[in-house]
Symmetry: C2
Subunit: 206 residues, 2 copies
Amino acid sequence: RLFSSEKLTQRDHSLPNPSWSKDLRLLFDQFMKKCEDSSWKRLPSYKCESSQRVQDFKTHFLDPKFMNEQTVHGQLFTRSFEDGLGFEYAMFCNDAEKRIVCLFQGGPYLQGVPGFLHGGAIATIIDATTGMTALLAGGIVMTANLNINFKRPIPLCSTVVLNSQLDKVEGRKFFVSCNIHSVDGKTLYSETTGLFIKLDPDKRLK
Amino acid sequence: RLFSSEKLTQRDHSLPNPSWSKDLRLLFDQFMKKCEDSSWKRLPSYKCESSQRVQDFKTHFLDPKFMNEQTVHGQLFTRSFEDGLGFEYAMFCNDAEKRIVCLFQGGPYLQGVPGFLHGGAIATIIDATTGMTALLAGGIVMTANLNINFKRPIPLCSTVVLNSQLDKVEGRKFFVSCNIHSVDGKTLYSETTGLFIKLDPDKRLK
């Protein structure tokens, strides 16, 4: 049992599963095609991150007092739902253009008013996407500001596309913008600017 | 089985459960005391909202096409985790002062970087609290803007206090501000302004 649950947590959740809609599958296949000439890359995603970057964070920034009995069972928020119920998404990055595209399907457990995504769920996938855009450019960063304009409500269980872009770097500050469109590109759901700060290697988080 | 799951969904999740920390219990008891002279009121909270307000929303604003087989199983995002794993919170409102206080403990499934809450989880509890502040003043509202400054990371599984305040009303626009402090009031974790728009009763959401 331990072995299988360990395998489960290490599954790459950015690959298609049976809960994915036709829209999400089609977009995923399109972006996989773009990956063939290696201008675009798919970013794998796990419930419990074990990447070198996360190990570095634990070593250099995390005061051991925060890793107690409760927090050791921590799971990445965006991957903590069963397949199809929460955040289904895949991110693709274009290093040369400093862009990330996130294909996102928000499941029934992300509801705000009936039939639509919760504003917090939208903010979450925006934070994940813009944060990854800053992280690819700057290493270990934390969100300092998110300014989100919600233009139209996003229907529950629909597929949408996030486009995120690194706009500017000033010292340890990374400025990122992001919008969310419908699959056909005709509906703009939200526009965001985000500011991320690269952690100071001389200071542990308190 | 149907009956017991129905009872489960109708449990009031703003009441203490065994996963609540000592900090959260103590604060809850303090606010329950403030409720005795009815200046403060506790706001009940359910996985599947069935309040008059939600029924009104479904009747007047929701195009039936959004209530399909998938979305009918929708659950309120902030109540869609098992006890203790996600959002544990209780809100109290002061009608005269147009304020809401939200006592919040973010569980291990809300993790961002190891040991700390995901920015999206923080945005979610902010959206829920500021949205409720606007809703109590304006009826059915939707989030139009959230501008969140994240001042310090919030440790996973800790208890924090959100203070939300209605600042201004301009026609159908409701301006709300909100901050998050540690239980002892000494640490400011975040500051937010939010704009909420009261839905136009002549227009259905599309």
